[in-house]
């Protein structure tokens, strides 16, 4: 019955590590940077470098490789489908490896499918590394700070961050509640995984109604509790933890630049600069 938990991508893993201690802004911007680099990669060597880099960050963040892979499991399905599409519907022509009726598999298409699929995995892996090592509070703090300059053009940075904090805070609660209500209804003979599509959709009503009722009840209680403690929006609020950029953040930024340089700069250019 714990299958819902299996779907929770990249749940924060509390630990003491240099990666955990990085400023959340560094991690947010760094992740975006990495995503860009992954998209820009054209070579297998580039993917290999990025894989090694992410593995290094995971190790530095004290995340076990087995656990990290489990977090990626749902993505593997998606990637599998993407690869199949590329292979089946890709360009015709090239070296034919396999042919049966209308199905033609060429070496070029297979290689492209695997390449794009793997790139997709790396994309998710990059973001997952961030969520593994950054608590939701830090994440929203970082986001608020990054959005602050845009307040002048009407971006409600604080409110957005607060909404995100609350949403993130209650997602696990919602999952737990879903599980409990499902079990409670199963105790009354409900079936969620059997029958026709229509029957399954109907079976969701006994789950969704209590879930929504519970969410509203909780929202009410939360609003009341916040007001009772004098919460009045973002102006003039001080923080318990001030964000500070430290040396390790510069080190991380340097590492990210280096990875980008290695991956994105074509080998010929490298040779021209370094080799001579």
């Amino acid at each position: 019955m714990n299958f819902l938990r299996g779907l929770m991508l990249g749940q924060y893993v509390p630990a003491e590590s240099p990666v955990h201690r990085l400023d959340p802004r560094t991690k947010l911007l760094g992740t975006m940077w990495l995503v860009g680099v992954v998209f820009g990669t054209r070579s297998l060597a580039g993917l290999a470098v990025l894989t090694a880099f992410l593995a290094g960050v995971l190790a530095a963040g004290r995340i076990g490789p087995a656990y990290a892979l489990r977090g990626l499991r749902p993505v593997f399905w998606l990637v599998g489908i993407a690869v199949v599409f590329q292979v089946v519907f890709g360009d015709s022509g090239g070296h034919v490896l396999f042919r049966r009726g209308p199905l033609v598999v060429t070496r070029e298409n297979l290689a492209a499918g695997v390449f794009y699929g793997y790139r997709l995995i790396l994309l998710v892996a990059a973001t997952t590394v961030m969520t593994f090592t950054t608590s939701s509070v830090e994440l929203t703090d970082g986001l608020e700070r990054l959005l602050r300059p845009f307040r002048r053009v009407g971006v409600p940075a604080h409110e957005l961050a607060l909404m995100m904090t609350i949403a993130l805070r209650f997602i696990p609660t919602l999952f737990e509640e879903t599980e409990t209500i499902m079990k409670a209804q199963m105790a009354r003979g409900a079936e969620f995984t059997r029958g026709s599509l229509a029957a399954r959709a109907r079976a969701l009503i006994p789950l969704l109604v209590p879930l929504f009722v519970g969410a509203f009840r909780r929202a009410d209680a939360l609003a009341l509790a916040m007001e009772a403690r004098g919460y009045r929006g973002g102006e003039h609020r001080t923080r318990m933890k001030e964000l500070r950029v430290a040396i390790r953040d510069y080190v991380a930024a340097g590492a990210l630049l280096l990875v980008a340089a290695v991956v994105l700069v074509p080998p010929s250019l490298w040779r021209a600069v370094v080799g001579r």
Partner: protein, 294 residues
């Protein structure tokens, strides 16, 4: 009859959040038994009872219902759940229908019963928890008080006509009158229909009053198990586990400390009354006037 053999349950195995909630739990619940399960918060009570109707699968060990392994491939878990009714903590959170009648009828409808039979069972179940079907039936469950919602949820289980009723803290968060009323309804049912009852509770008084046997859990292990009186005979041990004894037992202990020779093993108010009267009679037999008990 339910039998657990070496049941171990590990939540989120293989993740950094891995938690062993039950470890090597063995126990037996006979037909017609009334068993209490006590233990501090987080000791695994809820986890344990969810194994008894197959909602959770043990990580290791087996659960038998009438000598059939309920997690065997060929067993219809829905039938197990019909026979072993499980009331969750805060069951009022699972109500969803537009009317009380429809909500209580959810279980019977899932059993595939005819509409007439569903109606009949619904009305009977509501009456069994002390709610008039004519008055409460057409109302929205969300318009009821907490205690009434709780009773509707219990009726929802009773309408499935289980042989065994497992109640996970059925009276948590209710006022004393509702608490008493709900437990009384349950005991009346037990006596009328010979139901087997498993009561998970933080109220030592309720457990002492209703249960014949008690199982004590501590951090996922069974640390004591036996007749209620024996389990409550060792208050120091229970206190070390974060538990107490019934208030009257505590009262009797204090009396003995002050030199009043009441029986040490009283569990209910009635027993305490008799024990004190016995002492007074004994004192009266020896002395002209009974001494006042402090």
């Amino acid at each position: 009859m339910i039998r657990c053999e070496g049941v171990t349950h590990v939540y989120q195995r293989g993740s950094p959040f891995e938690a062993t909630a039950l470890e090597d739990v063995s126990l037996e619940i006979g037909a017609g038994d009334v068993i209490g399960i006590i233990g501090a918060t987080g000791s695994g009570k809820s986890t344990l009872v969810q194994h008894l109707n197959g909602l959770l699968r043990p990580t290791a060990g087996r659960v038998y219902l009438d000598d059939v392994d309920i997690n065997a491939r060929e067993v219809d878990r829905r039938r197990v759940r019909q026979q072993v009714g499980l009331l969750f903590q805060y069951p009022e959170h699972q109500l969803f229908e537009e009317t009380v009648t429809a909500d209580v009828g959810f279980g019977p409808r899932n059993l595939g019963l005819a509409p007439d039979e569903v109606r009949e069972r619904t009305a009977r179940a509501l009456a069994q928890v002390g709610l008039d079907p004519a008055v409460f039936g057409p109302r929205s469950p969300f318009s009821l008080s907490n205690g009434e919602m709780r009773r509707v949820a219990i009726a929802g289980l009773l309408a499935m006509e289980p042989r065994m009723l497992i109640l996970d803290e059925p009276t948590a968060g209710l006022d004393p009158a509702s608490r008493r009323e709900i437990l009384d309804h349950i005991m009346r049912l037990r006596n009328a229909r010979g139901l087997t009852i498993v009561l998970v509770s933080h109220s030592m008084d309720a457990v002492a009053r209703l249960c014949r046997r008690v199982v004590v859990l501590d951090r996922g292990r069974v640390v004591a198990q036996g007749p209620t009186r024996d389990v409550f005979a060792d208050p120091a041990r229970l206190a070390a586990l974060g538990l107490g004894v019934p208030q009257v037992a505590e009262c009797a202990r204090l009396l003995r400390e002050r030199g009043v020779p009441v029986r040490p093993d009283v569990l209910t108010v009635e027993e305490a009354r008799r024990a004190i009267l016995d002492v007074l009679a004994g004192v009266a037999g020896r002395r002209p006037a009974p001494k006042k008990v402090p």
